[in-house]
């Protein structure tokens, strides 16, 4: 499950991924802890933004499992603060049910993926491994959000001048991959369906993530604003 790590966030002696949990529900943290027990090394947990930032900076885990909503602010505050000083710490957003704009905000702040809390233990372990290895993790819901965000207003060309076509559009292949993920396919199933390797699927997804994080596209923000209205 581990991969070459930079010195700042090193693997545990046993080779297990070092994971930090941020969630305001103690019950949920306990549940995740027991599900992940043995597969990863849980180095700490926090229930809110401020303690989370401090403790993550201390323990320097490889992957932080982060709730999108926290009492003291959004998960994106944690990502932004930690990333500023420790860019190698990776974040995987994990949450029950959120408004798309919150999820996109956490991703744009720098999280490497988003999964819903209905995910099974083994799937979560795979997802953590994937994030630790530098890949992106897209749940069906995130894939749907992203397709939606990039599709909306595609016909309205008002602000065409303001965006970089490279970053502001998904390729046909990326769309195909996202669609299959949104339909509930695993990366492996997507690969089989499209006759490509799992590695290629991962690179497509990572490229989508990059676009999502770097795009200055107007629609992305406008889309979020519209969503908030309805």
């Amino acid at each position: 499950m581990t991969s070459p790590r930079p010195a700042t966030a090193s693997s545990a002696p046993g080779g297990k991924t070092r994971v930090f949990l941020v969630d305001d529900h103690g019950m949920f943290r306990a549940g995740v802890r027991s599900e992940l027990a043995g597969a990863v090394d849980i180095v700490g947990e926090a229930a809110d933004v401020v303690p989370a930032i401090a403790q993550i900076s201390d323990s320097l885990p490889e992957v932080v499992l982060l709730d999108v909503h926290l009492p003291g602010g959004g998960g994106q505050d944690v990502v932004a603060a930690v990333k500023a000083q420790h860019p190698d710490v990776k974040f995987l957003a994990l949450s029950a049910s959120d408004a798309p704009e919150d999820v996109i905000a956490v991703i744009r702040a720098g999280a490497r993926g988003y999964v819903t809390k209905t995910i099974s233990g083994t799937e979560l372990i795979t997802a953590i491994g994937r994030v630790a290895a530098g890949d992106a993790v897209f749940s069906p819901r995130l894939a749907g959000f992203v397709l939606d965000a990039f599709a909306s207003g595609a016909g309205a060309d008002v602000d065409r001048l303001s965006f970089d076509p490279e970053l502001d559009q998904l390729t046909a292949r990326e769309r195909e991959v996202l669609r299959l993920i949104a339909r509930g396919y695993t990366y492996r199933e997507v690969a089989k369906e499209l006759f490509i390797s799992v590695k290629t699927v991962e690179s497509h997804v990572s490229s989508v993530l990059r676009k999502l994080q770097l795009s200055t596209r107007h629609q992305l923000t406008r889309w979020a604003a519209e969503r908030r209205l309805t």
Partner: protein, 450 residues
Amino acid sequence: MPETPEPDHQQAGQPDPGSSSHWTARLESHGVRVTRGPASGGPVRRARDDRLFGGVAAGLAKRTGFSVGLIRVIFIIAIVLSTGYLAMAYVLAWLLIPAEDADGNIGTKALADKRGIVLAAALASVLVVALVIASALNAPWVTSLAVPIIACAAGLVLIWRNAPEEELEYLRSLADPAGMTETAPRSRRVLRIVAAGVLLVIGLWLLLEGHDRFALLKPLAGVILLVGGIALAFGPWWLRIALEAAAERRARIRAEERAEMASRVHDSVLQTLALIQRRAGDQQQVVKLARAQERELRAWLFDGRPPGSMEGQAGTVADGVRLIQQEVEAQHGITVDAVTVGDCELDDDLSALLAAAREATVNAAKWSGADVVSVFAEVEPEAVSLFVRDRGRGFDPAAVPADRKGLAESIRARMARRGGSATVRSTPGQGTEVSLVMPRAAADRQPRRP
């Protein structure tokens, strides 16, 4: 109706003196009830949750503390040993013992059901025929079998006609596996026919066994003549009863239809009006609600398509998907992972798409065995696609019998009628994916943007 409190019948098949005295003690403590005559079944109640037929054994088990299995075995042994007469006791107990948390028993209601009593009496005339045949064939075993069977049938007629709706529902589901209804799978119907054939063959063999074929001819001819005579005498009466029963059933269906219509109007029009009142300030919402309701009413009145509960509540594709998710999650206790990309208002075509999607989701929830069903809907300018996927047991689409209506009628035909398409991909052991695509009407193609 006998005045004896029912459980005495049960004691015959359930020889346990301890529980009997316990029972009388309880009876005294419930003295008030005993004085209520035949309506009181004493403290034993027919169980609701553990029942196989009427819940008598389960109720007794609850009452005495013995296991249901034990009591059922005792019942069956007693019924066999008594050549069926104890089954009468069971049916009687069913009639007389009230169900748990029910007020009265079925018997009291049955007393007031004149038509039911006539029907039961008609069955008694069948008994007469059976007895005549028995004596003609000189076969006393027919008598000993016919009496309990017909008495039970008469009792069951009364139960069927007078049981409360909840119990009827259960009885119907009991009768269903036997292939009584059209919707029962073909395999069950085949099973029923085979079973009937086996019984007939065994019966014939029993008749002919030990007889010289010709020796039997005369009594058989006599029997046929007798039956003919009886049929002539009683036939019109039986026929009338059957016809009246059918007419009554039609009347009941009409009443049910009216009730359903009332509930549909309530669910759709009245509900929308209430919503509009509450959101009077939000003009856009009100217009949306009114338009959706208008469309639905028109569809109902002029196209004869009854409003699905969905159309009253969902104005757009995303709303509809969310509604399917909530409904299926609530009704089937599984997780529905629903993702929608884009959105647009519902028209008739898209409502059909959603109705097909709901059927597919319900199918997945019911049959796949998976805990999670993924639903993905994407609204594009030219078409709306919808995928329902599970990782359950899957099936071989080619092996689905042609009479399975869910897939063929509710999904494929529904999509085809509106110019859409449905494909099913399923691999046994790996799950199923239903893909639905519905082209969008030209007028609706503008993306929904404020």
